[in-house]
């Protein structure tokens, strides 16, 4: 094998200039494809990261009916036994945070607004996100405390501040009346825009009591040790809970609309990438075509002296792959370097203000997601395989005598 690798490696450098031009074209295509996608994905990744860490978790367990009807009636009993079962179902589970969530009316002394009330365990929540860091005024609530933290948007709409009292009116579990007065201990600039406009946050046990749902939660947020373990952890949990009336979701299942939006936005750079690879593919084909045709006599000689056609084809394939690998690795390296240098792009002026108004930092972050790097390698490999068809067919049909005479 070593000799074939050596032969292929030296063959690609027979005409250095031609190989360098081809490799440069691949580098350019890979680099451009990565940067295009990285710029587009960066902002979405921030959104998704916020949604996952603040809202859904990587995996979430709900009552099996909750997805269709997000009602407290479809909450589920969560105790130490269930907690231990879940933790033992997969040792890759690192963190869990139980929550209860429902719609209620939030009011001051003169007006009422719709709100989403979250009951959270502040200690467990901290392990999922930097919730506390978004507090712009006051402090975080504590367990068993008749207090709330109000999202900035809702606080402004109700014209309430720290130390004011918030009225919550709604319906608890199984139609029980739920209402109460709560001291506002903090104002939070929630990073998820929608929640910033309607979020009310309180201690889990306080919320359970308010909603007549002691011991019940609407969702259990779960995080594995590594993000990539999300699907396998979800599978383990599905297996463990298959006999329960519980459903296990991964975050893409919980926020499909955001992913669809991202996919739609990525369609343009992906189309450009395809066009780019088609163009580069023809250049690559030109090089391989020339490398093949100018060596027909040599191929004839190699077949004459006893080299099997498949071995000769393998050498040509290795040559094609070598060119691809050099191009892909260098392209990834250049793209990585550029992304590191430009990340993030700071917005100024009206653009910056528009982004701030939407609840985001005025920057365009770059995505460093691994898949957008190795996918380019895969695409170039596909191009290489397509390009390799020419020498493969040529060698399979090569007439030894004609080749030797060429």
């Amino acid at each position: 094998m070593k000799i074939y690798l050596k032969l292929a490696w030296r063959n690609i450098w027979r005409n250095k200039r031609r190989t360098i031009i081809t490799v440069s074209a691949i580098i350019f295509a890979v680099m451009l494809a990565i940067i295009l996608q990285s710029v587009n994905r960066g902002s979405y990744e921030v959104m998704i990261d916020r949604m996952v860490s603040f809202n859904t978790g990587y995996v979430q367990i709900q009552d099996m009916r909750y997805d269709e009807e997000s009602s407290l009636d479809n909450s589920f009993w969560y105790d130490e036994e269930l907690r231990d079962r879940i933790l033992n179902a997969d040792l890759r589970i690192e963190r869990m945070a139980p929550r209860i969530e429902t719609f209620m009316l939030a009011a001051n002394h003169t007006s009422t607004r719709g709100s989403v009330v979250f009951g959270k365990n502040p200690q467990k929540e901290k392990k999922f996100n930097d919730f506390e860091n978004y507090l712009s005024e006051g402090r975080l609530f504590e367990m068993n405390e008749q207090s709330v933290v109000l999202a900035r948007g809702l606080a402004e709409r109700l014209q309430l501040g720290v130390a004011d009292t918030l009225v919550l009116i709604g319906q608890g579990r199984f139609g029980m009346s739920a209402s109460g007065l709560f001291e506002i201990v903090g104002i939070l600039d929630h990073p998820v825009r929608q929640l910033n406009n309607n979020g009310v946050f309180m201690a889990l046990d306080t919320a359970q009591h308010l909603l007549s749902a002691e011991g019940y939660i609407t969702g259990l947020m779960i995080a594995p040790v590594h993000e990539r373990q999300t699907n396998s952890v979800a599978s383990s949990l599905k297996e463990e809970l298959k006999d329960e009336e519980l459903a296990v979701y991964t975050w893409p299942e919980l926020i499909p609309e955001l992913l669809e939006l991202m996919e739609m936005d990525l369609a343009t750079p992906r189309l450009l990438t395809v066009v780019l690879y088609v163009v580069i593919g023809f250049g690559f084909l030109g090089t391989i075509l020339t490398m093949t045709l100018e060596r027909l006599r040599e191929f004839g000689v190699l077949l004459s002296v006893g080299m099997q056609r498949f071995k000769l084809s393998a050498v040509l394939f290795i040559e094609t792959i070598f060119i691809s690998i050099i191009g892909v690795l260098a392209g990834i390296a250049v793209a990585w370097l550029i992304l590191v240098l430009i990340d993030p792009i700071y917005l100024t002026g009206e653009a910056a203000q528009a982004v701030i108004d939407m609840g985001f930092d005025p920057v365009i972050p770059m995505s460093f997601a691994a898949d957008q790097f190795y996918r380019q390698g895969f695409f170039v490999f596909l191009v290489a395989v397509a390009v390799f068809m020419f020498p493969l067919i040529k060698i399979s049909r090569l007439n030894i005598l004609d080749a030797a005479r060429s």
Binding site: S304, V305, G306, Q308
Partner: protein, 235 residues
């Protein structure tokens, strides 16, 4: 002992349009240790015959036998493998692999045979010494003269320990000194190691060294004579 035999070998090109009879009923037997030249004017069929002997072309009729095995009916992949282990080739244009050194060119055939690294290294060293290129083993073809390249080609042909070596106009591109030098080497291998050589050639210097000369005219054997080369050389 016959190591190479053709029986009523015929080759017709363009049989359906304008038939060209490249070979007509050629039957020859070549024994081990022969130093044979196939000679004749251009178009007489000597290269076609050589291609048939090497299994590079299929006859229209007749058969070729190498060491008792018929090669004309072999499937291609088996034939390629057969050539690898039984037939050595020396080409007019040397046809070395340009990206390999002399040593790698000689070694390559043995690598295709899956021999051990130690054996390959030692045999390649030995063969390059035998052809007088022990000090040029790391040179690439482009760094060598035509004569040196052809000597590497001879070493390469011998590397697989073939039953015989087919050489198609091996001296055609060489100057007089290089040609004589090459012939000396091949002659020495023939006499000392009993290596069988079959040439197709126009070169009188090669013909003069051959102990058997097969003359072809219009695709048929016109004359087949055995000679005492040393007497010829002295004369």
């Amino acid at each position: 002992m016959a190591i190479l035999q053709t029986k009523n070998l015929s080759k017709v090109y363009n049989p359906d349009t304008v038939p060209v009879h490249a070979l007509r009923d050629v039957s020859i037997t070549i024994d081990k240790g022969e130093f044979t030249s196939i000679v004749g004017p251009s178009g007489s069929g000597k290269t076609t015959l050589l291609n048939m002997l090497g299994g590079l072309d299929k006859p229209t009729s007749g058969s070729v036998w190498v060491n008792g095995e018929e090669i004309t009916s072999m499937k291609e992949s088996k034939l390629i493998d057969f050539r690898l282990h039984n037939i050595g080739f020396v080409f007019q244009h040397y046809n070395l692999i340009p990206v390999f050194t002399a040593h790698e060119n000689v070694s390559f055939i043995m690598l295709l045979q899956n021999r051990s690294k130690k054996e390959i290294r030692e045999r390649a060293d030995d063969l390059l010494e035998q052809v007088g290129l022990g000090d040029r083993k790391n040179a690439r073809p482009v760094q060598m003269s035509g004569g040196q390249q052809q000597r590497v080609a001879v070493a390469r042909a011998l590397a697989s320990e073939p039953k015989f070596i087919l050489a198609d106009e091996p001296t055609a591109n060489l100057d007089s000194t290089s040609a004589m030098n090459l012939l000396d080497i091949m002659n020495k291998m023939n006499r000392e190691q009993n290596v069988t050589f079959v040439f197709s050639t126009h070169d009188q210097r090669v013909i003069d060294r051959a102990r058997r000369v097969i003359t072809m005219v219009d695709g048929a054997i016109h004359k087949d004579e055995y000679r005492d080369v040393e007497e010829t050389a002295e004369n």
